[in-house]
Symmetry: C2
Subunit: 246 residues, 2 copies
């Protein structure tokens, strides 16, 4: 519990390798997570080779963790392996659709999160890279992923070389709804986000970016509408190119 409550993302790592034994137990913890029908529709690509890290780095918009971490894990949803088993058994599979794409994302993330918790339990630090689905097409090429395999997220892992402050979260009341969803009026929204707007780091973001408020830093700087729709189109095309009828 302590471990979960004290989680911090670690972006700087010591130049110290992770043993294969430790990595195996970490991934073993991952496969113990719940999954749909015990079909295990996921795979993990382990990148230790610096040359491959250099290839992946720009696809994650040059976030320094990719080149710096001893181990980079690309977590993929994988219907290829299961389908091949079906083919071998004259079983007429039909998993190349939206339902099983989403199911695969769900199962991949349970696998991923168990991996992260197991890693932290061994004193390692982790960072998730949400950029994986932005440049899935290029990542597929680098990692030679066949049809039916799709990169969902990337985790960099290593021994921590920093000890950052824990970052803020919304109050629990802002997340929990009893029995039915209670929609937020303007007063509720303003109340929920007020603490965040007042953080020193938030004020800095706003002034550095010459914005009127923190929300505009998100919409005009960090995650812009034009980019969101561009990468959405690209993602859809890549999902189809990987053989999913979406």
């Amino acid at each position: 519990m302590e471990l979960l409550l004290n989680h911090r993302t670690i972006r700087k790592y010591q130049q110290k390798d992770i043993s294969q034994e430790d990595l195996n137990i970490i991934i073993e913890s991952g496969i113990r997570a719940s999954n749909t029908g015990n079909m295990q529709l996921y795979s993990v690509i382990v990148t230790r080779d610096q040359v491959n890290k250099e290839k992946l780095s720009p696809l994650h918009f040059n976030q320094p963790m990719v080149k710096q971490a001893p181990v980079v894990l690309t977590i993929c949803l994988d219907i290829n392996r299961f389908n091949k088993w079906c083919d071998l058994n004259s079983a007429d599979h039909g998993y190349n659709n939206l339902l099983w794409f989403v199911t695969g994302v769900i199962d991949s993330m349970l696998f991923a999160q168990n991996i992260c918790i197991a890693a932290e339990n061994l004193g390692l630090g982790i960072c998730y890279l949400g950029t994986t689905i932005y440049n899935a097409a290029e990542i597929i090429e680098v990692l030679k992923l066949p049809k039916g395999v799709f990169p969902v997220t990337t985790i960099t892992i290593g021994y921590p070389d920093e000890n950052p402050e824990q970052i803020d979260r919304l109050n629990l009341k802002g997340i929990i709804h009893d029995e039915v969803y209670t929609d937020y009026d303007e007063v509720a929204i303003a109340g929920l986000f007020a603490y965040k707007e007042e953080l020193e780091s938030s004020r800095k973001y706003v002034s550095e970016n010459n914005k009127q408020n923190l929300a505009q830093v998100f919409t005009d700087v960090r995650y812009k509408k034009v980019d969101n729709f561009f990468f959405s189109e690209k993602l859809l095309k890549t999902i189809r190119d990987q053989g999913f009828d979406v």
Copy 2:
């Protein structure tokens, strides 16, 4: 680590309530999971009321855990709350697309898995219901989810009233790929799945369902092609109805 490695899905619960205090610490553990840009694009609907459980039960194909568990959590991706904050700040959001739908699923599942691990840490047992995305439209109605909010998964939680055997998993070598994806040939597939086909429980499935082999139990009985495509279409329609431009 023990906790992760010993995970079992629990489907029978004691008739003993979960205190609000325990539930809060469990959900607090959830919000400590990593999430994209610290935008916290998720909400959780807590169902304790028996009348609401009765409404949800058929939407999960009458799996008995829904009516029997003291607490049912429906984990939702939620861009509604964030968008309302943007609206209040004249910030032009653009998150109603595939990129952010998938991002929301990812973040919701990290939230969900931390919740499950925290619950198990308190001696509770959990079961994931993958059926949530099959009947998302009806669940949206029961839980009164506004546009921008989408149910991703459901977790039933309670004190265990059973102690099941741990179920099988593929060998780690079947999941891990070093540096690049190594595709499976027929020999590799047959070798990976052989142990599973030989399990007593698998043989029983095959004979009870009059199938030739275990793979056909999956494709012809458990997750049939015609159902997969039917529920895929339904899922796509529901995603669009909830305001996502997919």
